[in-house]
């Protein structure tokens, strides 16, 4: 990981996704007509062509679809190794987020692992990262 992350240019239309973590919520755009989640957000639902699209909070639960452990220090101040993953949201697996898996040993990370969102704040932005879902 790098202390000084490269951050996204945030368009107002997608501010809910990047900043929703301020209230501890993962907000994903959803079509109010056919209920399809749309990520990244857009001006129209590609499934039903409705324009009524609003951010909705999801559970933050997800499953690791695939991952890689990055070993290469692409920059001098990049601390390696770390996990980059693509996770599928519980509500709609076709909605995937590229993210980091944190809070566990690298060796324990695997495809199919259940994870839950946590947020890493960088100024106004709250990056959705994921950690293992602790089951009782």
């Amino acid at each position: 990981m790098i202390a000084n992350r490269t951050m996204p240019v945030v368009d107002p239309s997608e501010a809910h996704f990047w900043c929703g973590g301020k209230e501890g919520r993962l907000l994903i755009s959803r079509c109010q007509s056919c209920s399809e989640y749309i990520h990244p957000t857009g001006p129209i639902c590609p499934a039903c062509l409705s324009r009524e699209i609003k951010p909705e909070a999801v559970s933050g639960k997800a499953v690791i679809s695939t991952f890689t452990i990055n070993y290469q220090a692409w920059f001098p101040d990049l601390e390696v190794p770390y996990v980059v993953a693509i996770v599928e949201l519980e509500e709609q697996p076709s909605v995937r987020l590229m993210t980091n898996i944190v809070g566990c040993d690298l060796e324990s990370v695997h495809i199919g692992m259940k994870v839950r969102v946590i947020f890493k704040q960088v100024d106004e932005i709250f990056l959705p990262l994921f950690e293992p879902e602790v089951t009782a």
Partner: protein, 395 residues
């Protein structure tokens, strides 16, 4: 597609010196490659009336694309009826697709298609500045903004995610994937222009440094300075020139899923799935008819995926197909990346595969020439969201 098949052909190819930190300008490399291709075809600058390039001039990433169509036009003061340079195309060889369409439409007679890259020189000239546009603390916009903030800086990371999925779904192993790299290096040893020519063993591969699991150093291609040119001409004009024209039996550039690394519907393959399927829709030829395959290997896994999706083996069977390496060797059932690919011959970025396919079809491969006069070749370029494939035949 029929119009391209009947009216357009490759009439000549050319390439500059290929090397690391050559210290030459992008335009100098481009002119070298153009003059080489014109001599190959038997054309002069005055015959050229079109230019097509990928991705067009790009000053954001040092050396990534130092020359666009206007710079080449001006250097040779060409009189053009059409020109184009854009990254919004189905892969690097999308520039060739555009040229074929322009020729088939009757708009132009002879089009120079080129890809020039001099990253190794440009980066060495930065003198200690951060050699990337996505270094820590900067901002990222566009399609990379949902990846780079999570420290997924490199295409190595993105392709590794796909490779890991494939390993998981189909039991593919590093021992199998390594054959792409070992095969490329073996062929590069027979190519005087290749960057890395000393053979490597599977053990060398397995012991090499991990970059982004499961991809190691030998899974990643090597950046070079180079310019590569393909000339697309009207078929009847090409028949009057030096070389036997090479025709486009089929071209595949379909893209039917999300234009995204992370939202693509099947993470064990890439956009090349659709570009491969489309290739076989326009032809009666079958994978078994192909004599030589030059398939994009910016990362070894991309090449494995092309092999599967083009139908040389079934989906998920690529690991077993290349195991041991004999099927893809120069004397195997489908000789693969006969020049050494981008892994060992250098990142000529897509264009090198079409250049080599033509070299083989013209019987000019020297020590690496595939035996028995190959008649049908596949060239492909692109990984991730980018892909185009070409079925090439001698006229």
């Amino acid at each position: 597609m029929d119009m391209i098949k009947q009216r357009a052909a490759i009439s000549g190819i050319g390439q500059s010196e290929v090397g690391r930190r050559l210290g030459k300008s992008g335009l100098a490399l481009t002119v070298d490659a153009v003059m080489d291709a014109l001599a190959d075809a038997g054309l002069e600058p005055k015959d050229i009336d079109g230019i097509s390039t990928w991705p067009g001039l790009n000053t954001d990433i040092p050396g990534f694309s130092p020359v666009g169509a206007p710079e080449l036009k001006d250097a040779l003061q060409l009189n053009l009826n059409w020109y184009s340079g854009s990254s919004e195309a189905p892969g690097q060889l999308g520039a060739v697709v555009n040229a074929c369409m322009a020729v088939a439409s009757g708009m132009v007679k002879h089009v120079i298609c080129f890809r020039t890259i001099n990253e190794t020189t440009a980066l060495s000239q930065l003198k200690g500045k951060v050699a990337s546009t996505v270094g820590g603390g900067q901002q990222v916009d566009g399609w990379a903004k949902y990846m780079v903030p999570f420290d997924a800086f490199s295409a190595s990371n993105w392709v590794a995610l796909y490779a890991q999925k494939h390993f998981h779904e189909y039991g593919t192993t590093r021992e199998q994937l390594g054959q792409i790299a070992v095969n490329a290096r073996r062929n590069a040893g027979l190519n005087p222009k290749a960057i890395y020519r000393d053979p490597i063993t599977l053990d060398d591969y397995l012991n090499s440094r991990m970059i982004s699991s499961p991809l190691c150093l030998y899974d990643c291609d090597v950046p070079v300075d180079a310019s590569t040119v393909i000339i697309i001409s009207r078929l009847e004009e090409a028949r009057e020139l030096n070389k036997t024209p090479i025709r486009f039996e089929s071209i595949g550039c379909a893209h039917n899923s999300r234009y995204s690394w992370d939202q693509f519907d099947d993470l064990s393959t890439q956009a090349l799935r659709d570009a491969s399927a489309a290739l076989w829709k326009n032809t009666d030829l079958k994978p078994a008819d192909v004599d030589v395959a030059e398939l994009y290997d910016g990362f070894s896994f991309i090449c494995l995926d092309w092999l599967e999706q083009l139908g040389f083996c079934g989906k998920g069977e690529g690991g077993a197909f290349i195991e041991g390496g004999s099927r893809i060797a120069l004397d195997g059932e489908i000789p693969l990346n006969t020049h050494g690919g981008q892994l060992s011959a250098g990142r000529t970025h897509g264009f090198g595969f079409m250049h080599e396919a033509c070299t083989q079809l013209w019987g000019e491969g020297g020590e690496r020439q595939v035996a028995n006069k190959p008649q049908v070749a596949i060239a492909s370029a692109g990984g991730g969201t980018l892909a185009a494939s070409f079925l090439l035949t001698r006229d």
